[in-house]
Amino acid sequence: MKGLRQTGPLSLLYAFMDARRWCPSSEEVLPRRERPIGLYVLETGGCEGCFMEIESLKGSAFALEQAGFVCVSDPADADWLLLTGAVTRVCAEMVDRVWRAMPPGRSLIAVGACAVDGGPFPASYATLGGLQALTPVRRAIPGCPPAPQEILRALQELARI
């Protein structure tokens, strides 16, 4: 990006034009579905690195929505639950509450090493050691933490299944 060429009212216009220039090209995106897949993201006690990378993915630098996904703030609107973190024992109830609030047809995806088996935080007095302590993990995105591009690519792969 070039820096703003001048200050004052025109600078806003330049800033907006720069933001428009960052829109992803069409070859980077998948064909649109009838309805985007709703993603609800839940951190359950990790270093927060995976959660922050998903937050980057949700931001303006990536084309999450053009790829057919939308992040939702209410689990009742979600199709997929993206879970990050090692699943502390305190958070198990939260995972259950969010999962039950999701509509039928829901899917659970572990994002990052911690979410699968605890990664560097295996089972202890405070942690369950990842989702595998609660349920078989069928869908996972590896990494510590996975980059937003890797998460997006994996989500697109999962959407094709």
Partner: protein, 479 residues
């Protein structure tokens, strides 16, 4: 006339900055009239209770024996000690006598496999989760933070009056996992304590270990560490600014922050290190193969062109942040709130200034000290500019020698790193080359006691935006 520092130094010196006090000296320290040294952290285990204080810009650690699971509460003198006392009770079952506050759990919300799990005599599990007190709640998934934090509120006419925090959801037992490991083995986990300090935490730990071993990192290592910390600072400042901007519907500013942060991450990845610099710091220095000069140049080239646009957009949207989530300077001083949050209130504490080899001429960031979200974001931008200047200065004279003397090896050390969100402290004691004891203080801990004051009068629906502008990391607070 006796001062708090003098009383502490009357105890038995057991390490460079650590004094053992007998119970009478401990009591004297807590009761001595006159100025109170700023408290960095308070903690206790089965054997001893500790307070880590700042004397000038130097740390001084005082500890006393825990008898019959009890010790005289530091919070009777240091208001900010309450959180550490509650954590210590949850983990070790040691009780702070005459403590202030309501003594509610800080970490143990129920659900653990034992009570006082780190104690030599742990109790049976307490069963299911305990309900939190308070009339209003933000569930952990509703706070807008990057990790789970339980917040309960007293609310009057829809506005916050008081806040209570429980961080059990984010507690992973990090300290218990590190005990008994060599520092080198521990570093893998230290590097994953919190994404709010992928560099800052390992760096504070490495400095503590170096002091314990009686070592001083060479000027080349020191300069690499400084550059890595500045890269992390810019990235996290952009993250916190983007989150604050979104909370205020300033999407254009958030967009520019997102892209600048991503540009830094890609520059790091292209130079062969992780996007967020995880695993780049180790006890002896830095990751093998790390080429700091091209990395610093690439990051500088990625960030510098974005700065003017960010500053202009901040000016456009800043009025939306006026008077939002204000921290008064007296509270910042009293609770030793550091980082951007403290400095934007007027508490001028930046631990980088005491570092040997620091190019002080690059650290010029000043700005409003109104303590609100506008001041914090303004300071973040100024600090990004400083980070770029600092990297230029270091690249211009990288590895220049100095004559910092090595301390004596005492198997005990204190390390600090001025991270993006404040001063990160690690205390470590080694025995036969392994970690016998350890304490970690994330800067988020110092914000907890002032959170109620910062959110007072804030409508409940704007609390997530306020928390975003403060830059709290539950993972760092709870460990």
């Amino acid at each position: 006339m006796r001062s708090m520092g003098r009383i502490i130094r009357s105890g038995e010196r057991v390490a460079l900055s650590h004094y053992h006090l007998d119970p009478a000296q401990w009591s004297d320290m807590l009761c001595v009239p006159g100025a109170t040294l700023p408290l960095i952290s308070c903690w206790a285990d089965d054997a001893r209770a500790y307070v880590l204080l700042l004397e000038g810009d130097r740390p001084i650690l005082a500890s006393t024996v825990v008898e019959d699971r009890r010790y005289l509460a530091p919070s009777s003198r240091f208001a900010g000690a309450e959180w550490g006392e509650r954590v210590s009770y949850d983990l070790y079952g040691v009780e702070a006598m005459e403590a202030r506050g309501n003594g509610t759990p800080a970490l143990d919300e129920g659900g653990w496999t034992s009570t006082w799990p780190l104690s030599s005599r742990p109790g049976p599990a307490s069963g299911g989760l305990r309900p939190l007190g308070g009339s209003h709640f933000l569930r952990p998934e509703q706070t807008g933070l990057s990790g789970p934090l339980d917040l309960s509120f007293e609310v009057l006419k829809g506005k916050v009056r008081a806040v209570d925090v429980c961080a059990g959801g984010a507690h992973r037992g990090v300290v218990s996992r590190l005990l008994g490991k060599t520092p080198e083995e521990a570093m893998v986990l230290v590097a994953r304590m919190t994404a709010g300090g992928f560099v800052a935490h390992p760096l504070a730990f490495a400095r503590a270990v170096a002091q314990a071993r009686g070592q001083v990192p060479g000027p080349g290592v020191r300069d690499v560490w400084m550059i890595l910390l500045e890269i992390e600072r810019m990235s996290l400042h952009l993250f916190d600014m983007a989150r604050t901007a979104r909370g205020m519907d300033a999407e254009l500013l958030a967009t520019h922050c997102d892209h600048a942060r991503e540009a830094i991450a890609q520059a790091c990845a292209e130079q062969g290190v992780s996007r967020r610099l995880m695993d780049t710091v180790n006890c002896g220095g830095f990751r093998e193969g790390l080429e700091i000069v091209p990395l610093a140049q690439a990051v500088h080239a990625a960030m510098q062109p974005s700065l003017a646009a960010l500053e202009e957009l901040h000016r456009v949207f800043a009025s939306r942040l006026n008077g939002f989530a204000v921290l008064d300077v007296r509270l910042a001083e009293r609770f030793a709130v550091g980082g951007v949050t403290g400095r934007a209130s007027g508490r001028s504490m930046d631990m980088r200034r005491r570092e040997t080899g620091m190019r002080l001429e690059a650290l010029r960031a000043t700005g409003s000290s109104s303590g609100d979200a506008r001041a914090r974001d303004g300071l973040r931008l100024a600090e990004i500019r400083d980070s770029l200047k600092l990297m230029e200065r270091i690249l211009g004279s990288i590895g220049l020698d100095d004559d910092e003397p090595a301390p004596d090896s005492t198997d005990e050390g204190i390390g600090v790193a001025e991270g993006a969100r404040g001063d990160v402290w690690h205390w470590v004691r080694l025995k036969n080359g392994r970690i016998e004891n350890l304490h970690v203080r994330d800067p988020g801990v110092s914000v907890l006691p002032v959170l109620g004051a910062m959110l007072q009068g804030c409508p409940m629906e704007r609390v997530p935006a306020a928390l975003g502008s403060i830059g709290l990391s539950p993972a760092g607070i709870a460990l």
